[in-house]
């Protein structure tokens, strides 16, 4: 199993794809400071959005980063830290593109549109429709994981793959202030951090985002603005054996659950509070409940230059096989699992194009159910037609990457991150950050000695996002 992830060939494929997508000989319309993206700079503002007058637009970016881990982990993984999950290796995290027609939401007339997102890179595994695990989480029955975008291109590559995190149609129903309805596969409304690289302050992600929330859903979601302060969403989701999380289009379609919530925003947009939740039976094979909620509060101070964000997540899954259940000898290893956490952000805009920020987080995986070594290993696990389990990202040496004999362990995880967000151009963002993780789990982070585990790690990461 190769340790290196072959960044340069993949970056080459990305750049080639980008160049092939841009018509040659375009006119450079504006100065580099005025342009909104690379395509705008190369082709001009009208040429790079030829269907804008019809409401159809496209966009995208390339995001690449590198992380240095002071532990010099023998397995090359930054423990349970995801996205920038490799030590000392350049990663092309996202070569991302989308095409959409945004709808006009109003009470006056019908409108319809939609959106399709596709991404290639090392982040893809974390946003594929992986909501059907390789086995039923309570009974251990082997499941069909679905084939919407899961492992679509990845069986021959440990790190790089394709994902299609959004593929939905959207409608405006002209009732009241306008009811917007999405139908298809779309990003979750739970939480604060997002998959899309340009929309986060930090390169690295919080535990709550990776382990406490879904990334996507498949189903229907309606959103309505009651007035200038209150917005509510309600819908139903399917295609998942994890309570409606990260569902796909072709398995577990008999299991439907709830997705929705409410947001309050102040008149001047300085303050907002959002409470969203999911609740469903776990899978088509089990009626045990799986639910979670996420509370996010935001506040802006000092003429909108100081930004504070508070987030609390809590999740429940009853009757599931957990690490603690197995090691404690619970019948069938079954427990009612819980996970919860709090993360806070403080960000200050020093200049229009320069921000500094800190993030402090505590995440509790109460039963050893959510956090299990490098997430790329269990995330890429599947059974072949002969019933033999394997993980393409970690191979036959899977056990060597997962501590504690392959079982997770109930523990607290803490992370403190400080970083800078610098935009030398409107469409170029550079984000160095330092991060210290520690845990009550002594097996959370690998040392430079294979198999020898530590309870903390220090990392330095930096990435660049170039928007098209």
């Amino acid at each position: 199993m190769s340790r290196r992830n072959l960044f340069w060939p993949h970056l080459g494929y990305g750049c080639a794809a980008l160049l092939m997508s841009l018509p040659m000989g375009g006119v450079q319309a504006e100065t580099i400071d005025e342009t909104t993206g690379l395509a705008d700079y190369i082709m001009g503002s009208k040429e790079h959005q030829p269907l804008k007058d019809y409401g159809i637009t496209w966009g995208g970016w390339i995001n690449a980063g590198v992380t240095a881990n002071a532990n010099n982990p023998a397995d090359g993984f930054n423990g349970p830290v995801t996205f920038g999950d490799r030590d000392g290796e350049l990663q092309m995290n996202q070569l991302y593109g989308y095409i959409q027609r945004a709808i006009t939401v109003s009470g006056d007339e019908w409108d319809f549109g939609g959106r399709f997102d596709i991404t290639y890179g090392t982040d893809s595994i974390y946003t594929q429709a992986y909501g059907v695990p390789a086995y039923e989480l309570g009974t251990g029955q082997i499941l069909n994981r679905g084939n919407y975008d899961l492992h679509l291109t990845s069986w021959n590559d440990r790190f790089y793959s394709l994902a299609m995190p959004q593929f939905y149609a959207e409608f405006n129903l002209p009732v009241g202030n306008g009811l917007a309805v999405k139908a298809g596969h779309f990003y979750t409304i739970l939480g604060y951090e997002v998959v899309t690289a340009p929309d986060n302050f930090f390169y690295t992600h919080a535990y709550t985002m990776q382990y406490g929330e879904p990334f996507t859903h498949t189903g229907v979601l309606a959103t309505y603005a009651f007035d200038e302060n209150w917005t509510a969403s309600a819908g139903t989701v399917t295609g998942s054996a994890t309570g409606g999380w990260d569902g796909n289009f072709n398995t577990q379609l008999t299991n439907w659950g709830w997705l929705g919530g409410v947001t309050w925003t102040s008149d001047e947009k300085d303050y907002s509070v959002t409470l969203n939740s999911t609740a469903a039976e776990r899978s088509a094979q089990s009626s045990q409940p799986w639910a979670a909620y996420s509370l996010v509060g935001k506040a802006n101070f000092l003429d909108n230059t100081l930004h504070y964000v508070f987030q609390h997540d809590m999740g429940f899954a009853d009757g599931v096989i957990t690490g603690n259940g197995i090691t404690s000898g619970a019948p069938g290893g079954l427990q009612d699992a819980m996970w919860y956490g709090i993360n806070q952000y403080l960000m200050y805009d020093v200049l229009d194009n320069l921000g500094v920020g800190v993030r402090a987080e505590w995440f509790r995986d109460d039963n050893g159910f959510r956090v299990l070594g490098p997430q790329r290993c269990p995330g890429s696990f599947n059974y072949n037609s002969s019933g033999i389990g394997n993980t393409y990202a970690c191979g036959s040496s899977y056990g060597a990457y997962v501590p504690n004999g392959g079982y997770s362990e109930g523990a607290d995880y803490y992370a403190l991150t400080a970083g800078v967000n610098y935009k030398p151009l409107k469409w170029v963002m550079v984000r160095p950050n330092i991060r210290y993780d520690w845990s009550s789990n002594n097996n959370a982070f690998m040392s430079s000695t294979p198999g020898k585990m530590l309870d903390n790690q220090f990392t330095f990461s930096a990435d660049i996002v170039i928007t098209f």
Partner: protein, 131 residues
């Protein structure tokens, strides 16, 4: 094979919806939006001319009008945003942010900076209004 056919049907359905959507016409700017853009253009002009007090009044007026517009034409606001989505909410938030900063700079007698921020707010309002 049935599964594969279902996928294909779903893809065709969504692609058709997108294609048909392309025939839709662009929506006109609201009268409130036109008035806000006019006020912001005046504020930028006055700030560039060094009339901070006059610009300050226009900045306040434009921000109030933006908030009033949201009362008559409310739109969905959520805690998460993804590039390209919810452009109206993002543009409205950004416009108010730029106006807050323009107000601070106008009060601090930094008219040039205030004018630049009003110009950015104007672009955000144009995005919000869909033009």
């Amino acid at each position: 094979m049935k599964t594969s056919n279902q996928n294909r049907e779903m893809i065709v359905l969504l692609a058709s919806a997108l294609a048909l959507a392309g025939c839709a016409e662009k929506k006109p700017v609201s009268p409130q939006g036109v008035a806000i853009e006019k006020t912001l253009k005046a504020a930028e002009k006055d700030a560039r001319a060094g009339s901070e007090d006059k610009a300050l009044k226009e900045i306040d007026s434009a921000e109030k009008a933006l908030i009033e517009e949201d009362k008559t034409r409310p739109y969905a606001q959520q805690s998460k945003t993804w590039s390209g989505e919810d452009t109206k909410a993002t543009a409205d938030r950004d416009a108010i942010k730029e106006l807050d900063r323009a107000r601070r700079d106008a009060k601090g007698k930094m008219a040039g900076d205030a004018a630049d921020e009003v110009k950015k707010a104007l672009k955000d309002v144009e995005t919000k209004e869909g033009n």
